[in-house]
């Protein structure tokens, strides 16, 4: 039977290969992927590609780009490019943590809800309804304004950016829970689930083997959307003064640039790098999302 095994693997690879083939045809998807991988690489390599430390001050204060500083310096003489890489890392972290956590929690709740049905389902769906109808940003403001109080729990200091990520999860999990529940419900009606049941499958098996693999593409698209949104919301909260005062993030950079009236002073290198970085990050996520959408939803494909 060894032949079958090998064959199996080959087929599996070719399935991914086919997906990649469809993906590759979409110029947006390719652009997005290239952009994102560049940004992620930059964020990860961060300190090693700039000659400066993130809080290293120099004599050149408030210098425009050039003269050894790729994106100039701020009023402390810190290298803006170095700060940008730091910020990129935190922003991507917020995006990745908040985005994936939202969808993972949403999926768990959505699938559970669809599966248990009955009163439990009704209750969970009512809860999501309530959170969904509340305006997101004001709710986030409300929760984030409590962040400094939450951050100082005992001796352990939770980083504020993590709290922002958590606030995002709290506010946005119902979105994915709803979508996933809808998908899971329609899957539950499908005959192959009944078929598995009649073959003696337990609930855990059905969820693991049948429901989750089938909601996975939807999850993936949602994670991408969610990450993109989380990065933007982090910027919103930072702009409104509820960001992490201690760690640079893209939103914080913008907020600081703005408090220092960088546009009016002509210090564009304080203002545009974080702005463009946010734009590129979210844009790459959006592009990847569109490409994925076309794979998951073949009707959207161009014919």
């Amino acid at each position: 039977m060894a032949t079958i095994r090998r064959d199996n693997i080959r087929r599996k690879i070719s399935k991914w290969g086919r997906t990649w083939k469809i993906y590759r045809r979409n110029w947006m998807g390719v652009t997005g992927l290239i952009l994102l991988s560049t940004l992620v690489t930059l964020a990860i390599l961060g300190p090693s590609i700039t000659p400066y430390e993130s809080h290293e001050r120099s004599e050149d204060i408030f210098q425009p780009p050039g003269n050894g500083h790729l994106l100039g310096t701020n009023r402390f003489g810190e290298d803006v490019f170095t700060i940008l890489l730091d910020s990129l890392r935190i922003s991507l972290l917020v995006g990745v943590i908040a985005g994936s956590l939202t969808v993972i929690i949403g999926t768990t709740i959505g699938v559970t809800s669809a599966y248990i049905g009955g009163w439990g389902d009704t209750l969970i769906m009512r809860i999501t309804d309530v959170i969904l109808v509340l305006p997101a940003l004001p709710l986030m403001l409300l929760l984030a304004s409590l962040a400094p109080l939450l951050a100082d729990v005992g001796d352990f200091l939770v980083p504020r950016w993590l709290i922002i990520a958590i606030v995002y999860v709290v506010v946005f999990w119902p979105v994915s829970a709803r979508l996933i529940r809808g998908q899971a419900l329609s899957l539950k009606q499908r005959a192959f689930i009944t078929s598995a049941k009649s073959a003696g499958a337990k609930n855990g098996y059905i969820i693991r083997k049948h429901l989750l693999p089938n909601v996975f593409p939807l999850m993936l698209t949602m994670i991408i959307t969610s990450m993109r949104q989380a990065i933007l919301y982090e910027a919103f909260l930072s702009y409104l003064g509820l960001g992490d005062p201690w760690n640079w993030s893209l939103g914080m950079m913008l907020s600081v640039a703005q408090n220092q009236a960088s546009l009016a002073t002509g210090a564009w290198w304080m203002y545009f790098p974080p702005g463009i970085a946010i734009a590129l990050t979210t844009l790459s996520f959006a592009f990847i999302g569109i490409a994925f959408d076309e794979i998951v939803n073949p009707r959207l494909r161009k014919r």
Binding site: T3, I4, R190, F192, S195, A199, K209, P213
Partner: protein, 399 residues
């Protein structure tokens, strides 16, 4: 078709009611009794070993529900389903046991205590009696719960009853390849200890349903197969665990006519080889004629006529069966339909069922009595039953 007289399935007075869901507002403001959908209402039939039993009727008459009930995928409301003479439908479960224990040792004593305060001595004695009964019931229940044989029977039930679905596009998981799909019951039920045996069995099964060479198919995904091939995979999957009984829920109705025959032939052949009994659910009388030894005609959750296929199709006694047969288009262009369909209107709702005979609002033979008397299945001759008070008059049968 073997004619041994061992019943595989005995369905006795099986009923399934679905409560009609009400909106919150209706529930709050409109006082009304809980309504039910009579999906399956008091049906009785027997399927012998190796026999193909057809369930015929319009869509919505409760055929598929019956199938689900036999598969234990739905719990019946009342009645008994015996599998080889053992009632596995009322499977003893821990929740059932716990609720009984609670009843006997918690709620009953509370009631007893209350009766002590408010009621007479007589009622107390009565209560003691009832309570003792409940405790006894719980004890019996517990014994059964530990009965190895019953437990094993329930465990093995899955191995012995399988299903083939109507829609081959829906019944195969899109993320499994053929190997995984067909092997799933084997793996779940742990039929074979080793994976190699599982794979060998799958290959064998694919071969026997006509997917040759099987090695070409095992790594394909459902969307890479044609409709007929998919349904063959479905058949293979149902037969892998050597079931004694298969529910085939309209297995070919979604397929092209050209591939139907092949699949039906395969099914027939396999069931003959292995002595598998079938519950063949269909709306197509022609199919039923080809496949079934016995058929039962269902209307709104009731069996209205049951008997050997040929007899029923040649000489239907019930007006509904007559209507069904009359509705079948004849392939002969000269055979003009001389009369209109002997039926009035559409299938009504299963909630508000007309009193008396269920069919009477649509029956052209209906008389006053029909809306008063609910007809039971009467024996016409051995193995032939019909539920109509006027069948003799209509069919001019003399005693």
């Amino acid at each position: 078709m073997s004619k041994s007289k061992v019943p595989v399935i005995d369905a006795i007075h099986v009923t399934k009611l679905f409560p009609v869901m009400k909106g919150i507002i209706e529930g709050l403001f409109k006082r009304s009794e809980q309504q039910y959908v009579h999906a399956v209402d008091d049906i009785t039939f027997t399927i012998q070993e190796g026999e193909t039993f057809g369930l015929v009727g319009e869509s919505g008459c409760g055929k598929s529900t019956t199938g689900m009930l036999l598969l234990q995928l739905l719990n019946r409301t009342s009645g008994t389903i015996l599998y080889k003479g053992i009632d596995v439908a009322s499977s003893f479960t821990w929740p059932g046991y716990i609720s009984r224990i609670l009843n006997a040792h918690f709620f009953m004593p509370i009631g007893y205590g209350l009766s002590y305060i408010f009621r007479s001595k007589e009622s107390r004695e009565l209560f003691t009696e009832v309570m003792n009964e409940a405790i006894k019931e719980a004890r019996i229940y517990k014994e059964n719960l530990n009965d190895k044989e019953v437990l094993d029977r329930i465990k093995n039930l899955r191995k012995e009853i399988q299903v083939i679905f109507q829609n081959p596009y829906d019944s195969l998981s899109p993320r499994f390849n053929v190997m995984d799909i067909v092997a799933e019951p084997l793996r779940l039920l742990k039929v074979y200890p080793s994976e190699a045996e599982v794979e060998a069995r799958v290959l064998h099964e694919l071969d026997s349903v006509g997917l040759v060479p099987p090695e070409d198919f095992i790594n394909r995904f459902p969307h890479e197969l044609s409709g007929g091939q998919r349904q063959r995979v479905g058949v293979a999957r149902a037969f892998t665990v050597d079931p004694k009984f298969i529910v085939a829920d309209e297995p070919v109705s979604m397929l092209d006519v050209s591939v139907r025959v092949g699949i039906l032939r395969t099914m027939n052949q396999l069931s003959k080889e292995r002595g598998t009994a079938f519950l063949f659910i269909t709306h197509d009388l022609a199919l039923a004629r080809v496949m079934c030894d016995q058929i039962a005609v269902m209307y709104l959750g009731r069996i209205v006529e049951r008997g050997p296929t040929e007899e029923i199709l040649h000489n239907p006694l019930h007006p509904y069966t007559k209507a069904l047969i009359a509705a079948v288009p004849k392939p002969d262009p000269d055979a003009h339909r001389t009369e209109d369909l002997p039926i009035i209107g559409e299938v009504p709702s299963g909630i508000d069922i007309a009193p008396g005979c269920r069919f009477n609002p649509r029956c052209i033979y209906a008389i006053e009595e029909c809306s008063q008397i609910d007809p039971q299945l009467e024996t016409v001759k051995k193995g032939y039953y019909v539920a109509c008070i006027r069948y003799k008059e209509i069919n001019k049968i003399k005693n």
